[in-house]
């Protein structure tokens, strides 16, 4: 609240009325509706509205808007997974001159990912996704387990799941999240998630094989619920305490606290991933489509949203981890988080963010992501061998990414 007020005052003094008042619309996905609602009062010279769609629909709509050249908002939110295919699309306003002077204040790897092949800045990072694992404290320390021991490496993590099984608690909602975490968080320097620097597929590499093996072990031993993520059953699983851990970006906290399981405050905690690996999971960008009717006013909104105070407000409101590195020594990072039973989790998020190895977004990411997920589905649900599933996926990726 305090931060928002401060933000409002800061914004007022900052925006020395360079543009005329305008109605601008930002298109985005949850939880940014909560954030916009909370902060839009601070941008007094423009009237901001938000068009919210769920994550998938929002990006589908955006693709249609770009293809037809109409219908997009003045500012659009873009998930990091789509940035690779969007920044070179030519549908966005070049923000280099506005953003360039302030780029040093933002996480390097995220700034780089928002640039097109021509070196121009088409998308500006607004939040990052430090990869973490959330865990139920009542199934951990309250039951006498030691967090550090459980998270020593992936084998101790699975051992913990075996003990939970005897108490009829699932280790995780869906084993596929473990595979996802493993291949997302062990990316080598300069590599993409699925491709190396030269665009060659990496999906049959050891990183994916091991990731699939972990998930397979968990599934075969019945340690997960085979509950699909982002479905009603999954939300219910959180509310009813069916599973003990969930790995994700730091941002999952915002969803848990605001709408998935608001009543479970104090039952959760957050930790580094097993083996202490660092990586990103998610993150969002802001961009202005060329078709926007108010590009100047749209930039005012972006500038406002990536300003230090509003970045902090986003962190408090929806746990969107700031892309603005200047915020990391803010005293608010020391504040305990009630939902996590008073844990000072932000210090950990910041530490992870500073140690993240950049993952380069690649042109074929969307195709590869789908095909790797199909392969994982085949391994976990249809008993196809890991080698065959990954080899099939790689063959198809090579064909499809032209």
């Amino acid at each position: 609240m305090k931060t928002q007020l401060k933000a409002g005052v800061a914004a007022l003094s900052l925006m020395a009325a360079t543009t005329f008042a305008a109605d601008i619309r930002i298109d985005g996905f949850p939880d940014y509706d909560t954030q916009i609602e909370a902060i839009k009062g601070g941008l007094t010279e423009h009237n901001v509205t938000m068009l919210k769609n769920n994550h998938g629909d929002h990006h589908t709509k955006l693709k249609t808007n770009l293809a037809t050249g109409s219908g997009a908002g003045d500012v659009v939110l873009i998930d990091v997974g789509f940035v690779g295919s969007f920044v070179n699309a030519g549908g966005f306003v070049d923000l280099s001159s506005q953003f360039g002077p302030m780029a040093d204040n933002y996480a390097d790897y995220a700034v780089a990912a928002g640039k097109g092949n021509d070196g121009k800045q088409y998308a500006v990072p607004v939040d990052l996704g430090p990869g973490v694992i959330y865990f139920r404290r009542d199934y951990m320390e309250d039951m006498g387990y030691d967090l550090n021991e459980v998270m020593t490496d992936w084998d101790t993590y699975i051992d913990y799941g075996r003990e939970l099984k005897e108490k009829d608690i699932l280790l995780i909602g869906n084993a596929s999240a473990v595979a996802n975490a493993y291949y997302r968080f062990n990316v080598g320097e300069g590599e993409g998630l699925y491709f190396d620097a030269d665009g060659e597929s990496l999906v049959t590499s050891e990183r994916f094989v091991r990731a699939f093996e972990l998930a397979k072990t968990i599934r075969e031993e019945g340690l997960d619920g085979n509950i699909s993520e982002w479905t009603e059953d999954w939300y219910a699983g959180f509310r009813e305490g069916k599973f003990a851990t969930q790995m994700s970006g730091a941002w999952l906290l915002g969803h848990l606290k605001n709408w998935i399981a608001p009543d479970n405050s104090g039952l959760w905690g957050v930790s580094h991933l097993p083996s202490g690996i660092y990586g990103t999971w998610g993150g969002s960008y802001l961009a202005i489509p060329k078709q926007a009717s108010n590009p100047e006013a749209a930039w005012d909104l972006i500038e406002y949203m990536i300003s230090e105070d509003i970045q902090m407000a986003g962190f408090e409101n929806i746990a969107a981890f700031p892309a603005h590195t200047g915020t990391y020594d803010d005293p608010a990072f020391e504040e305990p988080i009630e939902y996590l039973r008073g844990q000072k989790a932000r210090l950990m998020f910041a530490e992870i963010a500073e140690n993240i190895i950049p993952v380069t977004p690649m042109k074929g990411d969307l195709v590869a992501e789908d095909l790797v997920n199909v392969a994982l589905d085949k391994v976990l649900n249809d008993g196809v061998s890991i080698e065959k599933a990954l080899a099939d996926a790689e063959r198809q990726i090579k064909r499809r990414v032209r």
Binding site: T60, K63, D377, K378
Partner: protein
């Protein structure tokens, strides 16, 4: 005093010319809203798609980014194992949902006609309702019912498996419950097919009741006098005379089911679940176009689908067309 005479002949020809012009073009004027809309949304896309299928195009990059690739999209499509897998899925679901539609609709229509006109009107309306209800809405309701942990179907099955009267029959289910109706590759085709069957069976009932109404009651009377029971009247009188209607209904089912998109799309949550067995060819070409942003390839695949549907319909016409259309 008379006003100066104008040449009546000239006036006449002018007027009749205008009249002729109006007579000729007025109908087109009234038709034009339809013609324009059909041209823009019906005819243009067909030709644009032909053009598109020979190009590589990422729609997000605008029209200027089209690149001519010749037959590459067709080669890529025809040698794509996923295309054949989704084609097979489509076929299986088309048969699983299509055959029972007609097997149920035919006797059902016959029963309705026997019940008399008042009851028939009520029932056909009721059976027709699913057909005019939005497919997405219907599929979402079924999605909720199919839900693994909170769905009514699994809840009822669990009750039956536990119930003292029913456990002898359903007790075996205990080991497999809760069933992932839309998550499991082994179940998804049945789950989708059931929804399709439920939605379209009413449409076929309406076709068949209409067909039965065209049959001269004298024929039934004659058959009754000859000692035919109602089963015989159905198989010997109604069925042969319904052939053109069956032919029409089955043709629509073949075309409709090969284009199956909405039901599997909603039930698998946009292709997240059971992708191996639950994805139809329409779902796949949507994924290529809008998720992988490869419009050219998707256009080529839809032409491949068009040819396949053409072949199936052609074969059906070849084998049953003459009988079906009634000119034996």
């Amino acid at each position: 005093m008379y006003p100066p005479r104008r040449c009546p002949k000239l006036e006449e020809t002018n007027r009749s010319k205008r009249q002729r012009f109006l007579n000729k073009f007025t109908p087109y004027g009234f038709l034009s809203p339809y013609l324009i809309i059909y041209g823009v949304f019906g005819i243009f896309p067909v030709f644009f798609m032909v053009y598109l299928s020979f190009h590589m195009w990422n729609p997000v990059e605008g029209l200027g980014s089209m690149e001519f690739v010749g037959f590459e999209n067709y080669v890529l499509g025809l040698t794509d194992p996923t295309l054949w897998q989704t084609m097979w899925n489509t076929l299986v679901m088309a048969v699983l949902s299509g055959v029972p539609q007609h097997l149920v609709a035919l006797p059902m229509a016959y029963l309705l006609v026997m019940l008399g006109s008042r009851a028939r009107h009520w029932f056909t309306t009721a059976y027709f309702l699913p057909y005019i209800t939005s497919t997405v809405a219907v599929s979402m309701i079924f999605y909720v019912m199919y839900s693994k942990d909170s769905g009514i179907i699994n809840a009822v099955l669990a009750q039956l498996a536990d119930g003292s009267l029913t456990s002898w029959l359903f007790g075996g289910l205990k080991d497999v419950l809760p069933l992932g109706w839309v998550q499991e590759n082994s179940l998804i085709r049945y789950s989708v097919s059931f929804v399709v069957w439920w939605k379209y069976v009413g449409f076929n009932i309406v076709i068949y009741t209409a067909g039965l109404a065209t049959i001269n009651p004298d024929l039934y009377e004659a058959a009754t006098i000859d000692g035919a029971n109602s089963w015989q009247r159905f198989t010997r009188v109604s069925l042969p005379l319904l052939k053109p209607f069956i032919f029409f209904g089955v043709t629509l089912t073949i075309i409709g089911n090969m284009n199956l998109f909405d039901e599997p799309y909603v039930l698998t949550v946009g292709g997240q679940f059971a992708q191996t067995a639950g994805k139809t060819i329409s779902n796949y070409l949507y994924q290529i176009a809008w998720e992988w942003l490869d419009m050219g390839s998707a256009a080529a695949i839809s032409w491949i689908l068009f040819v396949v549907i053409g072949i199936f319909t052609g074969l059906y016409f070849w084998f049953f067309g003459r009988q079906g259309l009634g000119d034996e």
